[in-house]
């Protein structure tokens, strides 16, 4: 399963609509979740509405939280998305096989059996989460919390039985045609997620949509053909090396 987790604090203002970008991601089998981080004041009506809509378009969930709550929110969203997609798949099977709408329609003893299988899938299914971080100027004081949340998520994913990995991107990029920059390629090692954003130059624009699309491209390139039912990933070593070089070019 593939997920993009967008962490942002406000409305996009450059390029393609992030709602359309999220819808495209979902069409390619990638679920988009959004965490809106707000410490002082409010995120604004416009920002809040956009965050909710990006998640809806991306088949995911959204939540607006303070940076203190970010770690647990990120984990809860990741886990709920896995559980949700498995539930969906299982409910579909149940409809076809038994003509019932969902697990709840089964008598408790049967339900117990089905849930056992679902939990087994949740624990063993392979998972790739690309984190896309809004690093526009207003996010600067929150980046420590973001980094901590990413490290914490990686730690939890490491404990899963199934293969799990994360990659980290931030936007805006430094060059004119790069909307986002990769900070870490696919990794399952929490220790590698340290001081990611130390050298970021904060800029004003928020090209959320274009950045999302760039991450979708990355996932396509590194995860091969994406199918909704695909449960195994094949990482491509060559592409990974290439992208790491790209990184050193951008983050100076």
């Amino acid at each position: 399963m593939k997920q993009i987790l967008l962490i942002t604090d406000g409305g996009s203002n450059v390029g393609e609509s992030p709602v359309v970008a999220a819808a495209q991601a979902y069409a390619e089998g990638i679920t988009v979740n959004v965490a809106g981080v707000v410490d002082e004041g409010t995120i604004g009506e416009y920002g809040a509405a956009e965050i909710a809509e990006i998640a809806r378009a991306g088949g995911g969930i959204s939540q607006i939280v303070t940076s203190r709550q970010l770690s647990r929110t990120v984990q809860m969203m990741t886990r709920q998305t896995i559980a949700g997609s498995i539930r969906q798949a299982v409910n579909q099977e149940l409809r076809q096989l038994f003509g019932v709408d969902n697990v709840g329609a089964l008598p408790p003893p049967k339900r117990a059996e089905v849930v056992k299988v679902m939990e087994e899938m949740e624990e063993t299914m392979s998972l790739s989460v690309a984190l896309l971080i809004d690093a526009s100027a207003s996010m600067k004081p929150k980046l420590h919390a973001v980094e901590e949340a990413i490290r914490d998520l990686t730690l939890s994913l490491q404990a899963r039985t199934g293969k799990s990995r994360v990659s980290v991107f931030h936007f805006p990029g430094d060059a004119q045609y790069s909307y986002c920059v990769m900070d870490a390629g696919w990794t399952s090692d929490a220790n590698k997620i340290r001081s990611l954003f130390g050298k970021i130059r904060m800029r004003g624009t928020t090209p959320t949509g274009p950045a999302l699309l760039q991450v979708v491209d990355f996932i396509r390139e590194t995860c091969g053909k994406i199918g909704k039912t695909e449960l195994m990933d094949t990482p491509s070593q060559a592409t990974r090396g290439e992208l790491n070089e790209v990184r050193s070019d951008y983050v100076v």
């Binding site: 809860m76 408790p108 117990a112 980094e147 899963r160």
Partner: protein
């Protein structure tokens, strides 16, 4: 991976006396009062057939609730010889909505933090021993409790310990299903979130820190930078607390995952507590002859005074 995100707290608790009848099994329960709000449901004290000894958990998500009930059922399977935890699993229709629920045996008692505050910290030894003995059984059966915290460790009369909320338990080797941030080994950079007995040992050590020195512990979590979270910071608290200092060696082993087994942790706990109960050196005690001498001195001085007065 559930970590205390409350999604159901905004829901109003059901009024006392609400009756719920299971759709499948037909048993009737009368809700007496709300016991607690979990991350995924509400737990009520309930009676059935006029006996008040059930805890009913009403959930939001069928699969999630069934997952918890499955754990209780597996525990009942793997720990034969005790009373069953799981009593019933069913659905009830409330205001037109189908709500899943399961029923457990009710466990009376107060959270360990409150118990120690009300009854004194000299109960720590017994409670700690009982808790580790319970965890030994659980670990031997192949399970890790995971979400050890004051609210989940209930103490009844004379320091009898019962764990509650087994819904967060994890099979050894799997990822920890449910934890509380400040009790979490991963949070303190002291290891993984894979369920193993040492995960619980770590949380038990945090439980004592939280119960006896909660203010400073919370203060520490607020001020420490994430990269500095480490067992050594916790050991600083242990060494500067008079009640925890005698348990220093045990705490250090628990925080750094050095017990061979939970049995070993339990044995060493008992030893540490026994040592702390004995006077430190001979010099601390007043020898008998000194007490005698004092008595004699008082007797002599009073008789001298009496003689002088009556003279």
């Amino acid at each position: 991976m559930r970590c205390g995100v409350t999604t159901s707290s905004d829901r109003q608790p059901l009024p006392r006396g609400t009756e719920i009848r299971g759709k499948w099994n037909g048993r009737l329960y009368r809700l007496e009062r709300l016991l607690g709000l979990g991350s995924n449901g509400q737990v009520y004290l309930a009676s059935s057939d006029n006996r008040i000894n059930y805890a009913v958990k009403l959930g939001l998500e069928t699969a999630e609730l069934q997952g918890e009930a499955n754990i209780l059922a597996s525990l009942d399977q793997s720990e034969k010889g005790r009373q069953s935890f799981l009593v019933d699993v069913d659905d009830v229709v409330l205001e037109g909505k189908t709500v899943p629920f399961y029923v457990m045996r009710y466990v009376p008692g107060s959270p360990v933090k409150d118990y120690l505050r009300q009854n004194g910290t000299h109960w720590l030894g017994v409670i700690g021993y009982r808790l580790l003995e319970r965890l030994t059984q659980l670990h031997d059966a192949g399970w890790v409790f995971g979400d050890i915290k004051s609210d989940n460790v209930l103490v009844g009369e004379y320091g009898r310990v019962e764990l509650v909320d087994y819904g967060g338990a994890s099979a050894i080797g799997r990822s920890v299903r449910q934890f509380t941030e400040i009790y979490d080994r991963g949070y303190w950079s002291a290891g993984s979130r894979t369920a193993d007995p040492a995960y619980d040992h770590f949380a038990v050590a945090l439980l004592w820190l939280h119960a006896l020195d909660g203010k400073r512990l919370i203060q520490l979590t607020r001020t420490l930078l994430p990269q500095n979270r480490h067992p050594r910071e916790l050991m600083k608290l242990v060494r500067s607390h008079s009640r925890l200092l005698p348990l220093e060696a045990w705490m250090e082993k628990a925080l750094t995952g050095q017990f061979e087994s939970t049995k070993d942790a339990s044995r060493q706990w008992r030893e540490s507590v026994r040592i702390s109960q004995k006077p430190k050196t001979e010099g601390d005690r007043v020898p008998g002859w000194m007490v005698g001498l004092l008595g004699v001195a008082i007797a002599i001085s009073t008789s001298v005074a009496a003689i002088w007065l009556f003279d």
